[in-house]
Amino acid sequence: MSDTTIDPGAPWTTLAPTEQTGEGAQEMKRRSELGPRELLREVGSVLRMSEAEVAKLGELPPAPDEDQTMIINMGPQHPSTHGVLRLMLELQGETVLRCKPIIGYLHTGMEKTGEQLTYMQGGTNVTRMDYLSPFFNELAFSMATERLLGIDGDIPERAVWMRMLLSELNRMSSHLLFLATNGMDIGAVSMMIYGWREREEVLRFFQKVTGLRMNHNFIRPGGVAADLPPGWRDDVLRLLDMIPPRLDEYDVLMTGQPIWRERLQGVGVITPDEALALGATGPVLRSTGVAWDLRRDLPYLHYDEVDFDVIVGSYGDAFDRYAIRLNEVRESMKIVRQILDRMPQGDYRVQNKKVTPPPRARIDESMEALIHHFKIFTEGFKVPAGEVYVGIESPRGELGCYIASDGSATPYRMHMRAPSFAHVQCLPHMMRGGLVADAVAVISSVDPVLGDVDR
């Protein structure tokens, strides 16, 4: 028992949420304690308002009573917050006046950890950041490392196409999970089962290729870890045959349903200007009508050689974000079919003795190969000094990897530009003026992955 005594007769409302927990200034302040700058941050920044206009916006809507707002705390254990996102909401009745996301509950210092691990080991670390799209983390990290090594042009064709294959399948699995959780958050609970079921089929393929369902550490600097297993083509074709009719089922279940549309249309609207100013990328930005997709606009790998459409919305609401992701699954399948046609034979990693360990068979017959293997895995390989930023299109938006190297075998600084991190700061703008029930739909439509937010 603690020694603090609690007066059982005291009304619970006397304690503000800021007093009930010990985190102080990160949290939302009561309206009476607010300065105009705080309001500016929350409402006016994106709209380029003057402070006077902001103060006016911050005024309460007309209502009979004075002081009729309430600050409530949503999360971090709330089931619809996709992990440990915590929101402080100021409500007037059912209307959200202000929202402040509080993050950091999943912060594990992965960027600091990344400074201790060699470039060889780094993949195991970064793959755990955005755990729903692990291949993209590995790809960004590997591409940045390869750029520093100067071997980004030497990656064998088969490795490049394999990277694209895994990326697009990963985009499908990530979006399928979004459809599942989005359905669950909004009330289409059966959708949750369907989405997870289809995602599991994709993960089964990943397991066959990499040995793991998630956190693969398969895309590594220099190529990929192993060749595709025998029969992979049949597995992919089976996926491509299985998923389209099920997507059509989703259309019947959700897209055309008046209840679904009522629930999402016009909810969580963000304008193109706001989205760009807030650094939103991916489906959140495309839902506003800005056709920006790094695969098409700043192509990497061989995305300039495949044919696909960039899906854009027009209203910037939760329904557009849902529809974009649903159709991006179809576009990804289109890309996967082209990859199947074009997958070349050849090596799956660059034959460069600095970065590539010798093949297993060589270790049995050559002492030098054994030493070489040992040195690569214990000391790693040295990477020239310099700094580089590589951005790729992950299912959530621009995933960037910034590496500063000091010429040693570990990154001097490794930073991941996480799309979810930028998207969480869009939430206050999407929620403002909406209903508290729509807050759940808005969080879901942004599809944040808290491992990506907090890293």
Binding site: A25, G104, A280, V290, D297, P384, Y412
Partner: protein, 173 residues
């Protein structure tokens, strides 16, 4: 095809460094990097936004405490901290990286909040992790670490730390 990681990159001679808005523009592995001073920072960022670099896609920092010998163009004094901003031009489809030296004695730099509101969370993260103060930022508080945390974890003089694991109930077996 062979890589020579031990090769030291020679700094580019002064006369060859082109200027953009009065700041040296260098090339880092094929990517454009602009080195601006703290005094130029706000002004140059505004001009770059007018040039089309409308999106600040990323903002981070590096603590160069243990790597003083990095290559910088002439005229740029290396300092302990470096704030790195990645800009994106959506129309011409190009990127530009801005590096600003921030001294250890006065780790502060103007906030980009008024120009690019999207850097709000990123600046808070840099403040949290490096202790660099962004003047003019509306809410300069910790974002990832707990409020009462001591120190700034991504600084190089911040120990990685170990938590002594005490195995409980060992004797009870």
């Amino acid at each position: 095809m062979s890589v020579e990681p031990d090769k030291v990159v020679e700094p580019v001679e002064t006369t060859a460094v082109p200027l953009l808005h009065g700041a040296p523009l260098t090339d880092s592995f094929g990517q454009a990097v602009l080195h601006v001073t703290r005094e130029q920072y706000t002004d140059v960022m505004c001009r770059l936004a007018d040039d089309g670099y409308t999106v600040a896609i990323d903002l981070t920092a590096v603590d160069y405490l243990e790597f003083a010998g990095r290559v910088l163009p002439d005229g740029v004094e290396p300092e302990r901290f470096e704030v790195v901003v990645n800009l994106l031009d959506l129309v011409n489809r190009k990127r530009l990286r801005v590096r600003v030296q921030v001294p250890e004695a006065e780790p502060a730099i103007p906030s980009l909040f008024d120009l690019h509101p999207g850097t709000e969370a990123f600046e808070r993260e840099v403040f949290d992790m490096f202790g660099i103060d962004f003047t003019g930022h509306p809410d300069m508080t910790r974002i990832l670490m707990p409020e009462d945390w001591d120190g700034h974890p991504l600084r190089k003089d911040y120990a990685i730390g170990e938590i002594p694991v005490q195995f409980k109930h060992v004797g009870a077996r």
